[in-house]
Amino acid sequence: MDSTILQMQDITKTFPGVKALDGVNLSVREGEIHAICGENGAGKSTLMKVLSGVYPHGSYDGKILFNGQELKASSIKDSEAEGIVIIHQELALVPYLSVAENLFLGNETKRRGLIDWQEANQRAAKLLARVGLAESPVTPVGQLGVGKQQLVEIAKALNKDVKLLILDEPTAALNDDDSEHLLHLLRELREQGITCIIISHKLGEIEDIANNTTIIRDGQTVESLDMADPKSTQSRIIQGMVGRALSARYPDREPNIGQVVFEVRDWSVHHPTQHERIVVNKASLDVRAGEIVGIAGLMGAGRTELAMSIFGHSYGRGISGTVLMDGRPVDTSTVGKAIKAGIAYVSEDRKKFGLNLLEDIRVNTTAAGLGKISSRGFVNGNKEIQIAEHYRKSMRIKAPSVLAKTGNLSGGNQQKVVLGKWLHTAPELLILDEPTRGIDVGAKYEIYTIINELAASGKAVLVISSELPELLGICDRIYTLAYGRMTGQLPKSEATQERLMELMTIEKEIVR
């Protein structure tokens, strides 16, 4: 058990103008779970791409020893032949193909050039049993949830005789149940002798499962921690990642709460395609000026659906209920009207719904409020630069200029651009959906600071988050949502993770 399976020595990888990796060392023992931590942009993914052959041998400096032999992979195929399989954050499954078809894609069992489906399905069933997935091999992958798709990916890796499994943020998109199941599976695989490298931002998870943790910062190895050592705590890892001890993960704040600004009454939303399904059922909530209110709920509880249906009816059908701003009912049936009513919605997926990654900071900042800087349909270019520059400074966006493309920014800076964009519309209420998803620890703190500043300036803020500590850390009051219903609300003083979780899992009657 104690032999080293993988040695990466002095790995240096440069892109034009950027040194992504600068002499990284990584040593992984056979049969362990090895975590890699680091802020976004620290070089974790690049390192794994070097290891898995995405960047071929020769395009980087340094040496990789796998099972004592030098690895010179020139493609993913080469590294897979050695038993190294990487599972990316964005799953690489074909939604319209069945589980079995996906499992053997590019690796089909053939008999005289034809695929033997009977045998394939049988083998698939065995693989699925190994990962604890009770689904038929002929189910189309698109019908499975993200958690189950992840298991299919792992089954696919097992089929390739994996020795070293690399998982890039495997639980980022999973709910707690699915995460727990996945971590359990990883422990089982460890007992079967499969070595595993896991990249994760969820430090609790790492503490829970990893034998060793290597921390990378700015393309260099900072240290490797033995997790059996009681001194290897979460805050110890954070310290290594950010290069300083974070005194608090949430900035202090003195709330100054005023009148009710925003109120929703009896809000109901039906599923866009399955009309009889009620996704949000008579939900009511209110937010006061200067108040930060959280919405907690498990995956599928209807959090994003609630927010998006309020914001311009961007989700769902058969929407009913009232939205009130400052006590007066307002029409939010199109995004334009919602913006006019003073509502802003920062979506959970900034790349998909928040930014035009082809354009620069300037254009993105003004995209939702072009009317404010134009007259008779003409955009005032100078004013636009002035405004973008204002938000670049006040949000502390790290970019050489507002003419830098948003596609080249890190996750945290992209999120700041999105926040700037919505602040430019001068909203009364900001709905922030997973505002810190996929953002590194240091940038999270900055985002929290910005949220606090917004509340301090009298705005009403509604935060949706899957991370309960985050809600407990920043909110004055937290609503819980379960199966589309509001199941309770707790003020900060009474809220604990346990009590919230209780409310989040109330089933009452399951609405179909």
């Binding site: 311009g312 961007s314 995004v335 035009n356 082809l358 354009e359 100078n382 520059e389 596609g407």
Partner: protein, 393 residues
């Protein structure tokens, strides 16, 4: 930044935007040498303008369609239909020339409403809608013309594509008016460049060095002045060049300086984000197609004027010339990227290629092969650059 690194950047970092201009210069130089200077002779320059203006007009609308993430395959047929309607009115019923032109534009707009409705409000992919339009409008052309060609147009109508504004300010071996237009064009260009630069400096943005700024503008000024001088000593200012010039400026401003233009890029760059930013996506798409239809009407009028009549088979494959011009000019196949100036230069690349090969006596078959390869290489080059940029980030 120094002038030297800026010059280097043009050929390295910024190759994706500057590539089309470099390619254009290379092609012009190549054909000038191969035709012993005939390509750049005053008479031939005038001919290029007269011959290819319709492609450039179509490219102006097409670039907006492509940036928004659509395609329009129907413009060739629409050029035929609008030209046919105009011809029937002017030649058969004896309506005045301007009625014919207005009718062409109106019919184009109407067809744009039709296609825009299906794309924007019903949600059918533009590829399908305009493929249907390609057949539909061609069929209507045959109906309108009763399967026969109509010609000739009266003199005024022919002036649209074949006429010159000569001697307005007198001629002295060269046409004064033409030279004056050239000077105005240069002044306008330099002024707009300078005011943009001043705005950026004022708000603390990085700008290119003064030396680079002057070098760029001086080069453009020389090329423009030389071009206008050449045509002024030939036949003077073509009317169609005036039309084209006004349209290019109008559409450049529309795409870069207006809310509508911004919305086009937002839709093409990230449809979901545009929708969640309050962009009325349906309305913008609807108007993009109406606009394309109107420009097809303009091109229909110009083309019928140039060919002095309307033929049922007119405008065949024009859509492909216009689409090629956009992609050669750096538009992205997935939307969100593309510029009016790029599309115009892309159209000129196609024009110079055709014209140069004609001067050399290359057959039509070989011309098509070369044009096809150039289109393929242009897009391959773009994708190569995109990938390189992606790896760097």
């Amino acid at each position: 930044m120094t002038l030297k690194t800026e010059l280097k950047d043009i050929f390295t970092k910024n190759l994706r935007t500057s590539g089309i201009y470099i390619a254009f210069v290379l092609i012009v130089v190549l054909f000038t040498i191969m035709t012993d200077g005939l390509l750049l002779s005053p008479i031939n320059l005038t001919n290029i303008i007269l011959q290819y203006s319709y492609v450039l007009i179509l490219a102006l609308g097409m670039i907006m369609v492509i940036v928004a993430g659509h395609i329009d395959l129907s413009v060739g047929s629409l050029v035929a239909l609008t030209g046919a309607v105009s011809a029937v009115l002017v030649i058969k019923t004896g309506a005045p020339w301007w009625v014919g032109i207005l009718a062409a534009v109106a019919v184009g707009a109407l067809c744009g409403v039709w296609q825009g409705f299906w794309v924007a409000y019903v949600g059918i992919p533009a590829f399908i809608v305009t493929l249907a339009g390609m057949l539909l409008f061609r069929g209507l052309t045959y109906e309108v013309l009763n399967n026969v060609s109509l010609s000739p147009f009266p003199g005024e109508y022919q002036q649209v594509a074949g006429g010159f504004l000569n001697g307005l300010l007198g001629g002295y071996g060269f046409d004064m008016f033409t030279v004056l237009i050239g000077v105005v064009a240069v002044a306008g260009l330099v002024w707009s460049q300078y005011s943009t630069r001043r705005g950026r400096v004022k708000f603390g943005q990085d700008v290119e060095s003064m030396a680079m700024f002057i070098a760029k503008n001086a080069l453009s000024a020389i090329v423009i002045l030389w071009f206008f001088w050449q045509i002024s000593i030939s036949r003077g200012m073509p009317i169609v060049l005036m039309i084209l010039g006004v349209l290019v400026i109008a559409y450049h401003v529309l795409t870069t300086r207006t809310v509508f233009g911004r919305h086009i890029y937002a839709i093409g760059g990230n449809l979901s984000a545009a929708r969640l930013s309050g962009v009325n996506v349906k309305k913008v798409n609807f108007w993009i197609f109406i606009n394309m239809g109107m420009l097809a009407g303009v091109a229909g009028a110009v083309f019928s004027s140039r060919s002095n009549g309307a033929q049922p088979g007119a405008g065949n494959m024009f859509e492909l010339d216009a689409i090629a011009a956009c992609f050669i000019g750096g538009a992205s196949t997935t939307g969100g990227v593309g510029r009016v100036t790029g599309a115009i230069v892309g159209g000129l690349v196609m024009a110079v290629l055709s014209n140069g090969m004609q001067l050399m006596g290359v057959g039509a078959s070989a011309q098509q092969i070369v044009k096809g390869l150039v289109l393929l290489l242009a897009v391959a080059f773009d994708i190569y650059n995109k990938r390189r940029a992606g790896e760097a980030s």
